[in-house]
Symmetry: C2
Subunit: 218 residues, 2 copies
């Protein structure tokens, strides 16, 4: 089950776990910045986030940030460094395919913009949805995907179709030039190796929850 991890780059490999923790740091740091604090130390972050301070230092170090002993990190510099490292400050233009409830939820959640993702349009085959808007994003007919993606040079696609349409939709996305797919369905997509696929399966987490809960009841 190695998927996107295999993308080998020049710099030394950074663990996915580290990368997954960085957005949480970012959200925390934005609150710290809002409070007006100019600097933040790893021990402080660790206490607030209930995390090991040395792990935080290690995680942050992958971005190249330098902190000062007895002071910590400059908050705004740290925010910008993480955003830059993760690509959140780029204008990552994306299309969303599948404007059902889940798709609508994604369209309505403006927090995604904080991650540098800007959804330019959504696509569906349900005529009753066409031309409706959610979160200022218009739903267009799926058949227009290819031409628009090509013309606008869209490389990122968010897949939120029903399971039985996922593979087909994903293939159309690839044919339209989309290179990276955020797959919110529980379907295992079969796509050419060069396509970057990130699976967000809510259901893996459900397994942990139920296991923990049922074990605690036993």
């Amino acid at each position: 089950m190695k998927n996107s991890e295999s993308q080998n780059n020049k710099a030394q490999r950074v663990s996915p776990q580290t990368i997954k923790r960085l957005p949480a740091y970012l959200m925390y740091l934005q609150k710290v910045a809002q409070k007006g604090d100019l600097s933040i130390s790893a021990p402080r972050m660790g206490a607030d986030l209930e995390a090991d301070p040395t792990q935080i230092v290690k995680d942050l170090s992958v971005t190249g940030i330098k902190g000062k002993p007895r002071v910590g990190y400059n908050v705004t510099e740290l925010i910008h460094t993480i955003e830059n490292y993760l690509g959140f400050n780029k204008n990552n233009e994306a299309f969303l395919i599948g404007a059902g409830k889940l798709g609508q939820a994604i369209l309505s959640y403006h927090e995604l913009q904080g991650f540098g993702i800007r959804i330019l349009a959504a696509f569906d085959i349900d005529e009753s949805k066409i031309n409706q808007s959610y979160g200022n994003v218009k739903i267009l007919h799926f058949k227009k995907l290819g031409e628009l993606a090509n013309r606008l040079g869209i490389s990122i696609g968010i897949l939120t179709t029903p399971s039985d349409k996922a593979q087909e939709a994903a293939e159309a996305m690839v044919k339209s030039g989309i290179k990276a797919i955020w797959n919110m369905t529980s379907v295992r997509l079969e796509l050419p190796k060069h396509v970057i696929v990130q699976n967000t399966s809510m259901y893996a987490d459900v397994a942990i929850l139920l296991k923990d809960y049922n074990d605690s009841e036993a």
Copy 2:
């Protein structure tokens, strides 16, 4: 010779990674069963799922299942064993709090039932949503949560409120006797230690996707 771990929850810690992989096996196995195959070998699973066969054997072994050399595992037995191990065959009754788009998506996605979760009711404060139904689940007023949860003995809650309401809603859930919370918001909840919280942050995965994508473009 460690056996019967499935019955003994104190037996041996099982890694979260293993538990997270089990639902993926389950979904795959259901397709295999649908095809009519009676048995399945780890090498075959590994080929289909692009995973290491020995890892699959190790993962499956935590459930206590026994396979036969040259044949593999009995498909239906394996399915039931995994479901039993994860608690998916229990009737895990749950409430959903926050009937916005994301909540509606969860209510409409019937796949959750395959995980043993049965959502009995949803709650919101938006009067216009009260008494509406999604996926056969009725939306009730949030103020009714406490009494109903108590009366029905609900222990599992799914949190899908907007971020700014998440902490407050979670506290109400705990006060109503809910012991396990599936937190779909990006908020870090501060709750008593005894409450089981599983965070599903879609945004961690976005970080991986964007990093992989932007690195590949570099």
